[in-house]
Symmetry: C2
Subunit: 417 residues, 2 copies
């Protein structure tokens, strides 16, 4: 089963916003074995939309469209949808009741005509109930292709995908299995990793595909297996992963199924009933922010001191001024002291600390631009590593963020062995 | 001048990563008057790439392609590029020298064959020098369409767009002006705003386009003017903005050109030589992270105490336990006390504090899921507002983040009037 995702909206095409909807939809479809072969972002223009619909007709099974369902004049999707299916808009009584309840009952506002128009839908469409917003989803079929229109507001789109579309596709269509397994490696570049596993890669069977996902300082290797026999695919993946592990065991730091490193760490902390805090300088709270983005993180994430200014390090983290004078604020000594201090202050089992110079100009120290020290405090002590993440600023912050979680992760795993 | 952006990579189509490259490229092109009419994400498959190239041939002036230029086997873009132009790969000596210098000189690793292959380029292409990576950009023209291939690693792509592509397009092509002005409103829904400005909207001239960009709790209105006479466009935009302001002055909180709220705030702080700190519970450091993402933020952002656990609020922020017992940890009183405390601890002019329950389950308080108190401390005191941001968790955190910056922004602006 093949799908195409369309995003409608000029704000995407002028780069004012990043389209995150398509990735969410793609991931949801991938999990149930629906292959997304293309994502397209187009303008709010009626002819452009019609044109795109026509090109996809009978070439894919499913077209998911987000955006352009709001009540305002620039939203043309619904009318265009009607044109394409040679249909007309009618008021759906159930949707109207839901919209009225939302606006008058929950938001306590008088309902206006534009709100009411949200209940206008093509007469032949199957309505997908949007419990969290006023614009319903609309499911329509023409010949061999189903077109589904969804609102562009991310949490409304997500609600409809999770509660309406995925269950409906699972009920009504047969699909193969698509299994992914991602291997996290660190410390070697893409080309070096590729060289080491060249023979192994050449021996992969047709139904397993390998992809390299490089990021500064780390490479993820994704194996995707596709077929009708789930058990067979699982066994094959396991076998090839074992032979891969035998070759590059020294750089593998873990495996990822659907989960990101912050979720994986969260599961480890929860299972082991351990806690964590951070003391952040150059990362500015981004480690805390990522850790606390995980539902349930309040069970193990206790907090952070973001000590951006040097005297905040002294006053709040009790870093001795002499230490800063002697070694500079960007140093292994200060990073270690920060980690140990926040661990003590917040009474945690683990702590991460960062101090560095993200650039573009030099700060309170003479440290090179891009230089970062990361310290990890554990129940048994503290260790620190020095890096130079180069430039630009966003890369330095991003690399320090992920490197610190990786250091912590490896440390916890080591303790488990 | 029309452009299409293509992103190549299975990792995008299975939703493993969000494509942020396209938005960056689109924004850069929009600034110089190049209209992006479509963004397409396609698989690593050779025929899929060739097909997409063929469809665009002579329909757009410029095709920018990212991804698929790495040294590994799954990267087919370069070979496909060659096929499409009926060209062959040759070693470019200058690129080879640059790759060697990067690998051996900077990374201190022996160069391998895959590294060397990065210097293979189609013989007829114009090479765009990639100072920050090993894969060069490649610029090739066929009939009326230019195709440019760029690496997918974001900072390499950005380097090439900023330093090579934009200057080259500006030198070689005539383009109209596209000017945008975005009005930030808050507190009223999209349909209510649309109703209030209906007459004004109907009177907009052909060359000015209006778009509604709704987000929970706020609507941005984007005016885009397009034409050859920059002065005329600027005057027209100014005039229509003035008449818009006369209608909805009560909900306009500011204007945005290219800048986001954290950058606008940063400029205000820098200009006024004021400082800021945050005390964050439910936002988990995301306010600190956003504030410190701005280059130069160390001049005004001093730090944050992320007090996720209740006793961290007591121990580090000196919140009296009685206050928490009496009013609960999620309360206006605790939020105000957190803001005042961090302002004092970090010796700043302003402070933001958040405490709330982001869900999905209840935490250390009996506060409703979605309930958030945001306090802003200023040189003159502290004020606090209560919100319920509903669910899911990510929406609560995101809305609390932006609402807090908006409260701060309005407060600073008020003081300026």
């Amino acid at each position: 089963m093949k799908a195409t995702i369309i995003t409608i909206g000029d704000e995407i095409l002028i780069g004012q916003i990043v389209d995150t909807n398509s990735a969410f939809i793609a991931k949801s479809l991938d999990k149930i074995g629906v292959e997304v072969n293309e994502m397209i972002s187009i303008t709010d223009d009626k002819n452009h939309i019609l044109d795109t619909f026509t090109k996809l007709q009978n070439n894919v099974d499913l077209v998911l469209i987000t955006g352009g369902l709001g009540p305002t004049k620039d939203d043309v999707t619904k009318k265009t949808f009607c044109d394409y299916f040679e249909d007309e808009l009618i008021v759906d009584q159930k949707v109207l009741e839901h919209v009225t309840e939302l606006i008058e009952g929950i938001f306590k506002r008088p309902i206006n005509q534009m709100n009411k128009d949200q209940a206008l839908v093509p007469s032949k469409c199957t309505i997908l109930h949007n419990a969290v917003g006023t614009a319903p989803g609309m499911w329509m079929k023409k010949e061999n292709t189903v077109y589904v229109s969804l609102p562009g507001v991310p949490y409304e789109m997500k609600y409809l995908v999770e509660n309406e579309i995925i269950p409906k596709v699972v009920r009504e269509y047969e699909r193969p299995y698509i299994l992914h397994k991602t291997v996290l490696t660190h410390g070697q570049g893409e080309s070096l990793v590729a060289e080491r596993i060249e023979d192994w890669e050449n021996n992969l069977p047709e139904f397993i595909k390998l992809a390299y996902l490089p990021a500064p300082g780390r490479v993820r290797l994704r194996l995707s297996a596709r077929g009708k026999d789930k058990g067979f695919l699982e066994r094959a993946l396991e076998e090839y992963l074992a032979s891969l592990d035998a070759i590059i065991n020294d750089i593998i730091v873990g495996y990822e199924e659907a989960n990101t490193i912050e979720v994986v760490l969260g599961e480890l902390f929860t299972k082991q009933q351990k806690t964590i805090a951070t003391a952040e300088s150059c990362t500015g709270g981004s480690i805390a922010s990522l850790l606390s983005s995980v539902p349930g993180s309040s069970a193990y994430f206790r907090g952070s001191v973001v000590s951006y200014a040097t005297d905040v390090k002294i006053d709040l983290l009790n870093i001795p001024p002499e230490l800063i004078t002697e070694f500079s604020v960007v140093s292994a000594e200060v990073a270690s002291a920060m980690a140990l201090s926040v661990k003590k202050l917040m009474k945690t089992d683990y702590a991460i600390a960062t101090t560095g110079n993200a650039g573009p100009s030099k700060g309170d120290s003479n440290a090179e631009i891009g230089a970062v020290f990361i310290a990890v405090a554990t129940p048994n002590g503290v260790f620190v590593e020095e890096f130079n993440f180069g430039q630009p600023r966003e890369k330095v912050i991003d690399r320090a963020l992920y490197k610190s979680l990786e250091m912590l992760y490896k440390e916890i795993l080591k303790k488990q062995l």
